[in-house]
Amino acid sequence: TQLLEQSPQFLSIQEGENLTVYCNSSSVFSSLQWYRQEPGEGPVLLVTVVTGGEVKKLKRLTFQFGDARKDSSLHITAAQPGDTGLYLCAGNQFYFGTGTSLTVIP
């Protein structure tokens, strides 16, 4: 089993603050994806990274894949209430992390 640990598990911040969520494993992945899930819905894909060291930006979200392809981070700049949700990383498509529940307070 390829385990992905996410930290922090819970995060509550004020609107406008910056934050970083981490996804770590002892296993190497050929691809890593980040999803966001809102209550009562299925996860929605945000980004896929496949190259070690790769950085992708999606508006205020910045995703980085570690050089060794064992870890990843998601950085959100100037968080907004619409960013509230459960953030999940997934390695090699099937192996999902433990999740980070983000609440952005207006």
């Binding site: 691809s31 009562g40 819905e41 299925g42 929605v44 498509q93 192996y95 999902f96 999740g99």
Partner: protein
């Protein structure tokens, strides 16, 4: 176009009963996936299909769980002799192809409660 649909949306059953959960993938998607999610937690992979075949059944928790897919479309996940620990949200997803970087499109899930 239509997304992934799942039925029922909620299911309450008594311990020991069998349940069937249904997934209708996006038309044309060859790969279909089943996951289980406990409240506020990550997803636990159960099984995936490429066409009607299931190359990887390693995630099924026990022999009480089975799944099939017919006509390269609809899939059914069956849980026999349900136990309280089976209570969770069961999510289905589909993707155009079964590649590691492929985007999965998820349904809204079936919330199963075993009393």
């Amino acid at each position: 176009g239509a997304g992934v649909s799942q039925s029922p949306s909620n299911k309450v059953t008594e311990k020991g009963k069998d349940v069937e959960l249904r997934c209708d993938p996006i038309s044309g998607h060859t790969a279909l996936y089943w996951y289980r999610q406990s409240l506020g937690q990550g997803l636990e992979f159960l099984i995936y299909f490429q066409g009607n075949s299931a190359p990887d059944k390693s995630g099924l928790p026990s022999d009480r769980f089975s799944a099939e897919r017919t006509g390269g479309s609809v899939s059914t996940l069956t849980i026999q002799r349900t136990q309280q620990e089976d209570s969770a949200v069961y999510l289905c997803a589909s993707s155009l192809v079964a590649k590691r970087e492929a985007e999965q499109y998820f349904g809204p899930g079936t919330r199963l409660t075993v009393t």
